[in-house]
Amino acid sequence: MGRSAKTPATPAPALRGVLEFADQLAADAAAAQVPLPPAQLHLITFRLDGEEFGLPVETVREVIRVGDITRVPQSPAHIRGVINLRGRILPVVEIRTRLGLAPLVPRSTARIIVAEVRGRVLGLLVDSVAQVQKVPADRVVAAPDEVKSAHTDYITGVVQLYERLLILLDLARALDASGATHP
């Protein structure tokens, strides 16, 4: 259930389904009988293996370069290791392997997105980070079948941006399996 937005410009609540949010907006608009300008989603977009993904901006605390990542023995499969972020030891998730891709070969464009998920702060290792993108909420559509099957159940929708397809990631669900279990 999405929370109703207080003002039209409020971005989607971080962990709620984006599609549900869009539905709720429409319902609110109908109830209020006031034509709302289309809500905007603020997204940070990043690339993994050529595909482009988007994360709500409020989940992202910062984006940093990739330094030394210390491996942690016997940690779950999708944890690449930990890093020192200003004195805080942060786990770094290899999103690629979680999504079924090969592990990252480090290159200069790679970045770690420091994100907050369910109250926990984690690092996400990605090929590159593009930019902050504003996307009208009503442009979000359900994922086409071939995208869905590739990425199963951790995406909440896609947006067609000009010639690019942006996959909206549900971070909480994407990380679910990389919880506290041994490999």
């Binding site: 210390t70 023995p73 779950p76 930990v82 990389s178 506290a180």
Partner: protein
């Protein structure tokens, strides 16, 4: 209280006036309890508090707040008894006073909410009444011995105390950890600079500053760690009553002797020491101590002695729980073990007795409601190992049993050996390192697909650091050193490439996302800013090495 009560609108004033009074009472009772543990049986505060308790009772009564009123009244009565009768100055009374004051604080704080807490209040009052009746009765057979605490080491007068949220102390320590890292970095740069410039006045001055800074940091570390220390009596003090009650339930006579209550430990350790000690003490009373009849038949005094002792060593605290009961029966343990398919490492009593720590093991005929919660001893052992400590048992049939626990002084900072395996660095707590040995040619053997090495006359298992820690190595050539780790009586060697050095590291727990690795207990940040995992010696010693 009812909304139509005459003074309902004054509830905030009631809270504003009564809460500080209740807190003052609580502080005084806590101080009293601490003093009594140290053997000073004066009760001066109690007399001073009479007026405060009276005011609290009166205020609460005026406001129609019956729970607070009856609790304050009960405290008044108990305080009066304690002031008047020296025999009523035991742990039982001080615990009730402290509890009552705490309850009063809670009740007053919540006074603005709907009427609640009357159940708790009535229950507490009933217990106080029973205690007062018991105090009026003739003396009970159980006697408590306490050693007098030494005077404060520096003999300084008490300057007063402040209450600080413990998390602030953790924050202080974290910041100190960062300062330590920066100090290392500074030292490193200074060395490189000195190497390049050679000798000069500035280098000499800088050298003096670096040395002085190191000394200051050591003192700061020591002072910081001191703020986190609490006497072990805070854990020990629950036992006199527990032992008395348990002994009464078991219809045995047990005298509890406590020594070393003033031994100081970091709060992080203390918090986790309670449960294992409860297991051990309960175990001793329930299983260790024989019935009065049995003891008399064996020519022992009817009253058993159970002693809790704590001693501080340089980097550890040793705690022993010993009884003069029936001791462990080696044959019975061996039989039970074999029935469960277990074999001791050797037939010596020490190794056989060590089997009692194995999960699922219990030789008690009855499972008592306390000691036999099903998992007593092995859970206690696991808890101690988790702390980075060890536990051993020594026993003689018919004479008694002694459990010896050894725990580090703190979990917060650990003196570690930094090792390198396949270019990965790890911190190994020195408290679990018996020795580091250079690998001589031909020293390593293989028996049943496990690496073995001779160390101090015995053969111990040795594991390749790279394989154990999953570095992905394909190396087959022997590494340069092995580190002998120990957990309790068991040892295991770990083969590593380099010994980098010793370092005090600030321990940071592992994020839950990382799961619960067996071989890693935490992480820290080294001088170069990189994260290093802290190895769990107990976990490594227990690992079965992959073929």
């Amino acid at each position: 209280m009812d909304n139509d009560h005459a003074f309902a609108e004054l509830i905030q004033e009631y809270i504003a006036e009564s809460l500080p009074l209740a807190e003052a009472v609580s502080d005084a009772f806590l101080a009293l309890e601490r003093r009594w543990q140290e053997g000073d049986a004066a009760a001066g505060e109690v007399v001073e508090l009479k007026g405060t308790l009276h005011t609290l009772k009166g205020n609460s009564a005026m406001m129609g707040l019956r729970p607070m009123q009856v609790v304050a009244h009960a405290l008044e009565d108990l305080a009066a008894r304690v002031a008047a009768d020296e025999r009523a100055r035991t742990e039982a009374e001080s615990a009730l006073l402290v509890e009552g004051a705490g309850l009063l604080i809670d009740l007053i704080g919540a006074a603005a909410d709907a009427q609640s807490g009357s159940g708790e209040a009535e229950e507490f009052v009933a217990r106080v009444r029973r205690r007062l009746e018991a105090d009026a009765a003739p003396a009970v057979p159980l006697r408590l011995e306490r050693r007098r605490a030494e005077r404060r080491p520096d003999g300084a007068p008490d300057a007063g105390t402040v209450r600080v949220d413990f998390r602030r102390l953790d924050t202080l320590l974290e910041i100190f950890g960062e300062a330590m890292i920066e100090q290392s970095a500074l030292t490193e740069v200074y060395r490189r600079l000195a190497a390049r410039i050679g000798s000069s006045a500035e280098v000499t001055d800088l050298d003096r500053v670096v040395v002085s800074l190191r000394a200051t940091m050591k003192r700061l570390e020591s002072a910081l760690m001191q703020t986190r220390l609490l006497p072990i009596s805070t854990v020990f003090n629950r036992f006199p009553r527990a032992v008395r009650d348990l002994a009464r339930d078991e219809q045995k006579q047990v005298r509890l002797v406590i020594e070393g209550g003033d031994t100081l430990l970091d709060k992080t350790i203390l918090d986790r020491l309670g449960e294992p000690l409860v297991h051990l003490v309960s175990n001793a009373v329930v299983h260790g101590v024989e019935s009065e009849a049995e003891r008399l038949r064996a020519g022992k005094p009817a009253e058993a002695v159970l002693s809790l002792r704590a001693t501080a060593l340089a980097d550890r605290v040793v705690i022993s729980v010993s009884d003069d009961g029936r001791g462990l029966e080696t044959e019975r343990i061996l039989a039970k073990a074999r029935a469960l398919g277990l074999e001791p490492a050797s037939p010596t009593p020490a190794d056989v007795h060590g089997l009692i720590f194995v999960p699922g093991f219990s030789t008690a005929e009855q499972v008592s409601h306390v000691a036999g919660r099903g998992v007593g001893l092995d859970a206690a052992a696991a808890a101690i190992h988790d702390l980075g400590g060890g536990i051993e048992v020594a026993s003689e049939a018919g004479r008694g049993t002694r459990f010896t626990l050894s725990v580090p002084l703190t979990l917060a900072i650990v003196r570690s050996l930094i090792v390198e395996v396949d270019r990965e660095r790890y911190a190994v707590p020195l408290s679990h390192v018996a020795e580091t040995v250079r690998v001589e040619p031909g020293a390593l053997h293989e028996i049943n697909r496990q690496g073995v090495v001779m160390w101090r006359g015995s053969a111990i298992h040795v594991a390749d650091g790279g394989r154990l820690l999953g570095t992905g190595t394909t190396r087959t050539a022997p590494r340069n050193y092995f580190v002998v780790l120990f957990a309790g009586p068991r040892h295991r060697g770990l083969l590593v490439d380099r010994l980098v050095g010793h370092q005090d590291v600030v321990v940071k727990g592992l994020d839950p996302t990382l799961g619960r690795p067996d071989v890693v207990s935490g992480a820290t940040i080294l001088g170069d800013g990189r994260v290093a995992c802290i190895l769990d010696a107990a976990g490594i010693v227990a690992q079965r090495e992959a073929a």
